[in-house]
Symmetry: C2
Amino acid sequence: MNTYTIKEMREKFDIPSSTLRYYEDMGLFPEVKRTKTNQRIYTDDHINRLCAINCFKRTGLPMAKIHDFFEYSENLPDHIDDIIFMMESHEKDMLCQIEKMQQDLKHIQQKVRYYNQIKIAIEQKTPWPCYDDCEQ
Amino acid sequence: MNTYTIKEMREKFDIPSSTLRYYEDMGLFPEVKRTKTNQRIYTDDHINRLCAINCFKRTGLPMAKIHDFFEYSENLPDHIDDIIFMMESHEKDMLCQIEKMQQDLKHIQQKVRYYNQIKIAIEQKTPWPCYDDCEQ
DNA sequence: CTAACACTTCAAGTATACTTGAAGTCAACA
DNA sequence: TGTTGACTTCAAGTATACTTGAAGTGTTAG
């Protein structure tokens, strides 16, 4: 199995070493072995963990729940229903987020169009167009 | 023009009154008039503002940039390029976010499927399936 | 009229997720 | 060999976005 130094990890994932130590302190990582001079040795397990952490983080799962997820996954027979519930809830949540994001995107695109029209109106010294800004 | 009390606003948007006062203190709101007993009177302008704030917040624009946006919009002739740049950048950012979110959704859905298979394996006391978790 | 509750201000506190600093150890190169 | 740079620990600090508390004023139902 491949091993990685903290430097390799921080470069691979573009995060500071301090964050890797922080995640370890939080208990998000399986045991991190050390060299005889006390330097951290990461493995492919840690790589996988960090990928999962990043996926969860990007999609808005808070650290506490990410922590629970890994705790559940250490003892699946006792927590299989918890982990399925967590993942299914998160899936639903993400579907909502995506839908909301697509609506919000439309509003931002509307603003882009509107301010580009204003720019033309300013340049040509013509009256400004109107815009009804509310989405609710 | 319609007017609203702080109570109506907090119920309409489901946020605490303190958040409305906080946004006002931050300078995110146009002038909030008062009754003769010093209670806030909100208008449709504030409704529109709050809709825009919520849209920006949901899509990850930090308060400082939301603040800049409203400052620019108070003086469009001087800041039309700034506001267009901000909105176009935000649009690009949102398109990336949506794409990333859809990829992440696939990973979560894969986890949902995987843990449901594990559940069956646990119940039937058969060997667990494998799962390669990494996305990088 | 008074009790309960909503509103006000302003400063200080909270939650989340890191980030930095100080002080020390270790390794590799000129 | 010395000095540069990377690593270590652990506590304290930071940024963002609110949230709460204290102390006081105003409003309304019985």
